[in-house]
Subunit: 348 residues, 2 copies
């Protein structure tokens, strides 16, 4: 039995040096020789090293955390449309608690020879998870881009919403409305986006001289309606008159919790959501929320990935997109008896 390179070389009618050059994508190989080698490999049944596989007509993996939160389908839609406009096809892989994990999906996508992978709020946003897996992908020269969750030092482009600013915006809005006891509820602290948002929230309150008032008004729970409801319930019991929520879904749960306590939104308790997912203008009450510029972020993520694929890697910075306060009807001014400079009633 001949050695592998030798065997391929003989089948292709070239020397094993040429085969080696093809496999390592070195320069100095004619297209004719290259295709001869590749064909020989196929004929002999050798698996092509990743990167030389017929990168199937522009297939791109899109890995996302879940679909429950409407912001994720929204992201998926935007990204998919953007990719389609450039001739790429998105394969959406969503993770479920009991379903396939991210690693399995990545393996599958690699097997399928995707041109690149987009990670939207996946494991990369979890700071407690080992990130060596991404280093491995990087080493394989697989173009990847993160959305909402940078991992510095990996050289992977990342498109994020500026969560620190988002936290500040929410805090400032409520303080301007006269609130003093402002609760913060969000998902598990292991997510970098939660950490950042909380940091911005706290920094903003400290600057406004309210830091000590809200030290005990932070509750973290799962990222869904029920989590928001239970966290909000605790915060309301502790006297919070306003709630900053980690997602719109949690905000809806918070509204429900407030009402279960016999209070009204926004008359008694103000609620601020996050993301401005679709349909949030249809809720009761229409939700004041900190919009994440999903459209722009999706387009930017697609552009970054295409740059990576095309071989002109942009500098691997984190592109921060600015969130924006969308004032609807779940927040209202609060008259504080001790506050002489109470803000005016908001225009509805």
């Amino acid at each position: 039995m001949a050695a592998r390179l030798d065997e391929i070389a003989r089948q292709a009618g070239v020397s094993k040096a040429t085969v080696s050059r093809v496999l390592n994508e070195r320069p100095g190989v004619s297209p004719r020789a290259r295709s001869a080698v590749l064909t020989a490999m196929d004929v002999l049944g050798y698996e092509r090293p990743n990167g030389l596989r017929p990168r199937s007509s522009g297939l791109v993996g899109l890995i996302t955390a879940e679909l429950q939160n409407p912001v994720f389908p929204f992201f998926a839609q935007v990204i998919e449309t953007g990719l389609a406009r450039h001739g790429y096809t998105a394969v959406l892989c969503t993770q479920t608690p009991e379903g396939a994990g991210e690693d399995e999906y990545v393996g599958m996508l690699l097997d399928r020879g995707v041109s690149g992978i987009l990670f939207v709020s996946g494991l990369h946003a979890d700071t407690t998870i080992d990130h060596s897996r991404y280093r491995g992908l990087r080493r394989q020269r697989l173009p990847i881009v993160f959305v909402n969750g940078d991992i510095p030092g990996l050289g992977v482009p990342c498109v994020s919403c500026d969560d620190v600013t988002a936290g500040r915006i929410a805090a400032r809005h409520l303080v301007e409305l006269g609130h003093r006891r402002i609760g913060f509820l969000s998902g598990p602290l292991r997510y970098s986006t939660v950490q950042r948002r909380l940091a911005g929230f706290r920094a903003s309150l400290r600057e406004l001289g309210l830091g000590h008032d809200t030290d005990d008004l932070v509750e973290l729970s799962p990222f869904d309606v029920e989590g928001g409801q239970s966290a909000a319930s605790l915060l309301v019991q502790r006297g919070a008159t306003a709630l900053v929520c980690g997602s719109d879904l949690m905000a809806l749960g918070a509204v429900r919790a407030v009402r279960r306590h016999g209070l009204r939104v926004p008359e008694d308790v103000s609620v601020v959501g996050a993301d401005d997912s679709p349909l949030m203008s249809f809720t009761d009450p229409p939700l004041t929320t900190v919009r994440q510029p999903v459209q722009a972020m999706g387009v930017a993520a697609v552009r970054a990935l295409l740059d990576e694929i095309k071989g002109r890697p942009a500098r691997a910075a984190e592109y921060l997109f600015q969130p924006e306060l969308v004032v609807r009807a779940s927040t209202r001014a609060r008259w504080a008896s001790h506050d002489r400079n109470a803000p005016p009633e908001p225009v509805l």
Copy 2:
């Protein structure tokens, strides 16, 4: 009986040291040796320890129309969870107007060697589209299942919501509330689900002696919020006091249209949605809607597909799932002056 490592090593033609390295995912093992070991393990019937399971098998395509309507992500989630529970991985392919078409996705999935394809409200539900493509798939013995949109005569299992009944339920509910001029708005008539729902709606009204009242109260428009709004606007102008909508999204648009006309929901105009997508209990007003049993349907679709894959094709009937009226707060009784038997005010 030899020891395990030894046995595998002999079968694979390597030393037990190499086998050990493969099982522990240690570096320094050639791909060839690795695959030899893995194959040997399969041959000898040993279970692969960790994430070394073959994932290429057990890939299932899931083709869906869009992600805007929250019911589709919901379907995707349910189906994906169900597939994962049986060791299959779902690849979600969503169609966008300018994006990749269903045919492209099918081609891609075939290239990838999927075990089967699930079509959720795809082209198969469009009666104006040529269905020979599915015949082709069928001829290739590819297991496929339709959700919401049967094509009789193809022998493809289909899991649907009973749209005729859904139309009847909505109509009956509104008639019982005293409404007489009931509008119907939905998506393009080329979708079989629209046809059926309209048929059920009309049949029910006819049976109740109201057929002639609503002949001119049907408006078809695109399947989104804006479509619902424009259709509802026309119907309200024509004096409709209740609206049956083809989707929850359209219903939300309808609510908006009613309010643009200076009327209230449900006091002046009642609105009934369709599907009971997630979040519909949080809308303003909470939407009365005809629930589609997504969970049950998803599970049934997965089961049907697995049966097809396993080679015991169930009889290719259309499995009809019964919808269910979910009464929330977007419908209310209407006192008709000429109606002596006006129904009582509904309990809220």
